[in-house]
Amino acid sequence: MTASTILCVNGRHVTVEADSKTPLLYVLRNDLGLNGPKYGCGLGECGACAVLIGDRAARSCTVPIGAVKTRPITTLEGLGTERDPHPVQAAFIAHQAAQCGYCLNGMIIATVALLRANLHPAEAEIRQALRHHLCRCGTHIEILAAVRAAAAPADTGDRTRGDRTCGDRT
């Protein structure tokens, strides 16, 4: 049944008219024009559709908008821009960590979530955190290099940056 749902996306409140069971992925892409999250499987298997909900990565293809409530959602676009990328995005760009890049959204979101929970993950922890993010192009080596760089102790960039609330901004 179509209803109004208020979501907090990238630091702003938005109202969408859709059935509360609609996957968040479709609403982000079609109603909000946010193309960072990608459709890959719709089954929670591949990670292409990942977004941050609070500080954690969620697979937006399996998140009904009705379940999100007031939790803040951050998409790839909400992390940073080409001119001012988030440190994790900057690390992926610096390491040229993409072939086709279709999986990149999920890889970056998962990395941001990992670093918010664990500032200096070990190699095995990095690989485990990305284990259920699939990449067909075999970009794994470059992606791992990017994540290691973003997680390096020397890196003092604000890796935990990002909107976590909507505050009064609408």
Partner: protein, 1176 residues
């Protein structure tokens, strides 16, 4: 808010460039057509270059721009590439990754050289000096650095429209003078891709665009034979009539599609549309492709016949005959294909991820009877595909739907459709016969390869009948079919044959399997000859660049010569080994063109108990000729190594008897991060050689290098891929019988509540009925009096409705509260919940309180007819009077719904409502809810809620043959609801960990308990409904329920989880396919280290029947209502896991997560009946 909304790009047509002033264009004349444009220089310094190939995600755009910038000595940033647009670029045929730099870039470079020569000549005239003294640099032609005698390119072009014919003889810049080519150049697309601003084809939006989905026939992955295009029986349009925003259902032959305004509604229509198809014909068993490929009619084509192979084989003692088998594999793009089409009066525009814009346009023209000139194919990047996936198919689908609805339509294929229908990488079977001569050299080599063709037509063409579904035979099995070694008696034969499964080219097409055979066999010859495998190859290699490469890689790897296996020893259960392979990828029509040379040294660790192979390190050397972008080539090598490792160790398509059965990533697993090897890349510097394709070469030696390493580790040769643990284990331990956990004991078992002897029961019920008078109707009232109730009563009623979860059953089909109509499956037939809104006709608006109360407590409608005990009046009989009053008041204040619920029609004898009077006499007790003054007030309140309004027993108690809740010890001992098992709440609980009061509270309040998992199915709705109840009431229910179960063993959760961890290896060995399904489909959420509680704690895996596990897989599970941290729901796997996959998965789940329980019995029956139940 609207974020970066991307609208559709339109490439400028070539004709517009030709009309531009102030430009220099270079084009290649075409006989009888418009010249092909390659280069446009503008007076302002901008450079646009055109190439008919597309970027498949490998960064070829960057490499081509580097070539153009280099030839014009211009800054890289000035160059814009236009790739693969039918409106603008030359037609250079389909994009085959290895050919873009090697073949398609050649005219581009010549065009740039043509422009440079012209500009220098023009400048020479203006400056009156010989052209030889001038050179072009950064947009300026001058004599020497700092010389003030110069003219800018802008000055030379301004005010003119210079049109040059491409001069293939124009002198090219010598490589020694290169400053851009050969230097690492960051790719221009990655920062956009990392920030979400890059536009893939999936991101195209056109004003007025709507969303389409297709419904495919059941023969997924097969497009040949008389049934193709002739399988549709009927489409029931009425079955989707209720979908909001549905625009159309489009049926053309076997092409079926739906269009809706919103994407999720198109998805709903796709799932809901009832389509009847003919049963597809059986296919040969392609899970074991050897026999079907041998049986497939073929034509032998002899590629080489030197010396006398037959005689040499006869003469040599101990000839070896070997067969190598390559499975069907998938391109496996991470993004299923997508396209947008806009049909207008002037023609058609499609935005497509096709690799082949020009052939695509031809197909569209044929499909739509529209001349090619009226079709524009705009090509955008899609997810990496490494061959042809469904990009063309979905483009045609979108075109058909847009034509039908007259609006721009975006079509996104589902994961299941892409997996099922993408043209596969073909299977291959190779036979090699060979022998050693007296010196240990190869005396003879007889090589035969079988390759089913790969020319899958665009699907819509065959589905609509535009193109007959008959096979074309291509000659593509011959790539790298000639071994690279000097062998005097050599015969090479390729058996060209029609396709079996739908196929297209896939990275390393036919060369990868052919090299698997060559390089495995040469390794075997070396062993037989007692020579180190690299040394052996070097003896017979003739190509000097191959020899250089092999030596360089051996040196880099610090190769230790050895003449037999076990060169790397073992530690515990782990066997170490190292293998080598070399290949040059030959592409194009035989004899073909060589792409880059590549060689691998692979290090493996093989677990001899589990059979798992870990590829730990790869040293990969490549001779790419001149390297345009070293970073790009290095990344290509990494990608090839990782992808081919995945193919060799893990990938094979599974088939049912009629179709492709691998429909998601669990059934077709890809390599994951923990499995990625270390890779050491060695690039041979060859700056003066022409650049060679690097897109595929490094994949080609993979299989043999890994198999040779496994031989070194284990002493066993594997000649069939993929190298799954079960295959390795079976070869290592040939005497161990297969694990027995999978064996189901066949024992006839029936579900306990199946319908027994109707006649006897009928008699019993009738006897009961005879004792009781017919119940009188109660006079209607004019209104329920919604305005006369106190707000306190209404509030009490609101909570009573919550506790009673009334709306779980009585919700309307469209979500309207209490409107009724929901079908409830009972063992006796379908009962429809009634409309209990205050509507006078359809609802209970004419019911007095007395009528309502009688219905609630005795199950008798106002008109005197009996209700079925799906309405839990036996429980409500125990409820507090004030709650029933409140409920009446609350319902009276609800919005009316005029829609009457469907009439319930049960099977005989239950269709006889009066019999329910007898039923009531037998089973309706007037006992109040249990009360015990010795217990706490909380316990007593809980008892009232659980046994009364909450009517937990309605689902959680077993029912007798008459559908009545059993009592006594059976009370709350487990029942059924809506196809789900409602587990026991009493001491009969099968939960592996006891339900404590806290766990019950968490579960009822949040829908989730850490030690038990999430509420699913009807229980999820109940938890949602309980939302308004105060915490104290939930606590009270938990207190009472906890007191019911005294018997559950007091194991703690960690012990249960530990047992399942211990069982993991054994379960994976017993059920390898199920283990992979779990890893790919379930473990992202349910795997180790995820936040969800371990499935070992989930009662459903410990239950006697897999009912709830099946129901959850089929219908999915809603996101827990009250859980603060969780937003994800479990999706339905109904479309992606077939009967066999469900069996594999269930057996694994049971063995892994309930290791102490016996395997589920009669699984296939349980799965079949779950799948035959009405849709999820």
């Amino acid at each position: 808010m609207r974020g970066q909304d991307m609208t559709a790009p339109h490439d400028r047509p070539a004709a517009d460039y030709r009309a531009d002033a102030d430009t220099l264009l270079v084009a290649r004349p075409v006989a009888g057509g418009a010249p092909e444009l390659f280069l446009a220089l503008r007076a302002d310094g901008g450079i646009t270059a055109f190439n008919g190939h597309v970027d498949l995600g490998t960064g070829i755009r960057t490499a081509l721009a580097q070539i153009v910038a280099e030839e014009l000595s211009a800054p890289f940033e000035r160059v814009t590439m236009v790739l693969g647009s039918t409106a603008a670029t030359p037609n250079q045929g389909p994009t085959i990754a290895s050919e873009t730099i090697q073949v398609a870039a050649v005219p581009l470079r010549q065009a740039a050289a043509t422009a440079r020569a012209f500009l220098v000549d023009e400048a020479a005239q203006r400056l009156s000096c010989p052209p030889g003294a001038l050179h072009l640099e950064d947009g300026v032609v001058r004599a020497a650095e700092g010389d003030n005698l110069f003219v800018t390119v802008g000055e030379l072009i301004a005010g003119r429209a210079i049109r040059l014919a491409l001069d293939p003889q124009a002198p090219l810049k010598p490589s020694a003078a290169y400053t851009l080519v050969g230097r690492a150049q960051p790719r221009s697309d990655i920062s956009a891709k990392a920030t979400g601003t890059f536009q893939y084809v999936h991101d195209v939006r056109v004003p007025g665009m709507v969303h389409g989905r297709v419904v495919r026939p059941p023969h997924a992955g097969f497009d040949l034979g008389p049934h193709v295009g002739a399988s549709l029986i009927s489409v029931d349009r009425a079955s989707v009539a209720d979908i909001a925003g549905l625009i159309d259902v489009v049926v053309i032959g076997d092409f079926v599609g739906v269009v809706a305004t919103r994407e999720e509604n198109a998805v709903a229509a796709m799932r809901q549309l009832k389509v009847a198809w003919r049963t597809p014909p059986r296919i040969p068993d392609l899970n074991a492709p050897e026999a079907p490929l041998r049986d497939n009619p073929s034509t032998a084509r002899v590629l080489a016949d030197r010396g006398n192979v037959g005689r040499a084989l006869d003469a040599a003692p101990g000839a070896m005959e070997r067969t190598y088998v390559w499975p069907y594999q998938m391109h496996g793009s991470i993004g299923p294909s997508c396209a947008v089409a806009e049909w207008q009066d002037e023609g058609l525009t499609v935005w497509s991820g096709t690799q082949n814009p020009f052939p695509m346009r031809r197909d569209l023209s044929r499909l739509l009877d529209l001349p090619e000139e009226r079709i524009v194919v705009e090509r955008l990047e899609a997810a990496g595909c490494y061959g042809r996936n469904c990009a063309d198919d979905v483009t045609a689908d979108a075109a058909l739907l847009s034509r039908a609805v007259g609006r721009p339509v975006r079509v996104q294929l589902t994961r299941e459709q892409e997996h099922g229908w993408e043209p596969k990488g073909a299977a291959q079977v190779i036979d090699v016969r060979g022998a050693l001569d007296a010196e240990g050299g190869p005396a003879a080599y007889d090589f035969e390869t079988r390759y089913p063709s790969n020319l899958a037509p665009t699907l819509a063409l065959v589905l609509t009948g535009k193109v007959p579904p008959v096979a074309d035979v291509a000659q593509m099995g011959d790539r790298t079919a000639i071994p690279p070694y000097a062998i005097s008696n050599l015969r090479v034969t390729v058996h060209d044959m029609p396709p079996i499964a739908r196929a297209s080219w896939f990275r390393g097409v036919s060369a990868m399997p052919n090299s698997f055979a060559h390089e495995s066999f040469i390794d075997e010859l070396a062993s037989a000859a007692g020579v180190d495998p690299i040394e052996y190859r070097l003896r017979y290699l003739t190509d000097p660049r191959a020899i250089d490469l092999v030596r360089a890689v051996a040196e880099r790897a610090k190769w230790q010569p050895h003449t037999g296996p076990f060169s790397h020893g073992q530690a515990g259960d782990i066997l170490y080994g190292r293998g080598f392979a070399y290949a040059v990828y030959i592409h194009g029509t035989f004899p073909g063109t060589a792409a880059a040379w590549a060689a691998w040294v692979a290090d493996v660790a093989v677990n001899k108990v589990t059979g798992e192979i870990a590829l730990t390190r790869v040293i990969c050397g490549q001779d790419t000729g001149q390297v345009v972008n070293p970073d790009g080539v290095r990344h290509q090598i990494h990608g090839n190594v990782i992808q081919s490792t995945s193919r060799v160790l893990k990938e094979e398509v599974r088939f049912s008897q009629t179709a492709v059965a691998s429909l998601e990533w669990g059934a077709y697993p890809l390599i994951t991060f923990p499995e990625v090897p270390d890779i050491d890349v060695l690039m041979i510097p060859r700056p003066d050689e022409p650049p060679l394709g690097a897109g595929e070469s490094a994949s080609v030696p993979s299989a043999a290098a890994i198999a040779n390493a496994v031989f070194d580790a284990t002493g066993i040769r594997f000649r069939e891929l993929p190298l799954t643990p079960e295959k390795v284990r079976a070869a290592l331990n040939p005497l161990t019988p297969p694990a027995s956990a999978a064996q189901e004991e066949k024992k006839p078992a029936r579900r306990g509540w199946a319908w027994p002897f109707a006649g006897v029961l009928c008699g019993a019920l009738a006897a009961g009925a005879a004792l009781l008078p017919w119940r009188a109707p109660i006079a209607p009232v004019s209104a329920m009096g919604g305005d006369v109730f106190s707000s306190a009563a209404i509030e009490r009623g609101r909570l009573a409705a919550a506790a009673g979860a009334c709306n779980v059953c009585h919700v309307g089909a469209d979500g309207t509260a209490f409107a009724g109509g929901r079908p409830l499956e009972t063992p006796f037939g379908t009962v429809y919940a009634s409309n209990i809104t205050p509507d006078r006709a359809a609802g209970i608006g004419s019911w007095s309180y007395r009528a309502f109360e009688r219905a609630m407590r005795q199950g008798i409608r106002r008109d005197g007819r009996h209700l079925y005990p799906a309405h839990p009046y036996t429980s409500f009989a125990k409820a507090d009077e004030r709650d029933i009053q409140g409920l009446y008041a609350y319902l009276a204040t609800q919005a009316s719904s005029p829609v009457a619920a469907p009439e319930t029609r049960l099977r005989f004898p239950f269709s006889l409502r009066p019999l329910m009077a007898g039923w009531n006499a037998l089973f309706l007790s007037s006992a109040a809810a249990p009360a015990d003054p010795a217990r706490s007030a909380e316990w007593n309140r809980g008892a009232e809620l659980v046994e009364g309004l909450g009517h937990c027993a309605a689902c959680h108690s077993p029912r007798n043959a008459l559908g009545a809740e059993k009592t006594g010890a059976a009370h709350l001992a487990g029942g059924f609801a809506d196809g789900w098992h409602a587990p026991a709440l009493s001491s009969a609980s099968r939960a592996p960990v006891g339900w404590t009061e806290t766990a019950l509270y968490d579960y009822l309040r949040t829908g989730r308990s850490a030690d038990h998992g999430a509420a699913a199915g009807p229980m999820a709705h109940v938890v949602e409904s309980l939302g308004p109840l105060p915490d104290a009431d939930i606590r009270a229910m938990a207190t009472y329920l906890a007191s019911l179960n005294t018997a559950t063993p007091a194991r703690d959760a960690s012990a249960v989880i530990a047992a399942s961890e211990t069982a993991a290896t054994r379960a994976a060995m017993a059920e390898p396919v199920g283990a992979r399904l779990f890893e790919g489909a379930c473990a992202a959420c349910h795997g180790a280290g995820t936040r969800l509680p371990s499935l070992a704690l989930n009662s459903n895996l410990h239950a006697n029947q897999p009912t709830n596990v099946l129901a959850a897989l089929r219908a999915g599970i809603a996101a827990p209502a009250g859980e603060p941290d969780e937003t994800m729901a479990m999706p339905s796997f109904d479309a992606s896991l077939d009967q066999r996959a469900l069996g594999d998965l269930l057996r694994y789940l049971r063995a892994r997560f309930a290791p102490e329980r016996a395997p589920w019995q009669n699984l296939s029956d349980a799965i079949a009946s779950a799948r035959n139940a009405p849709g999820p």
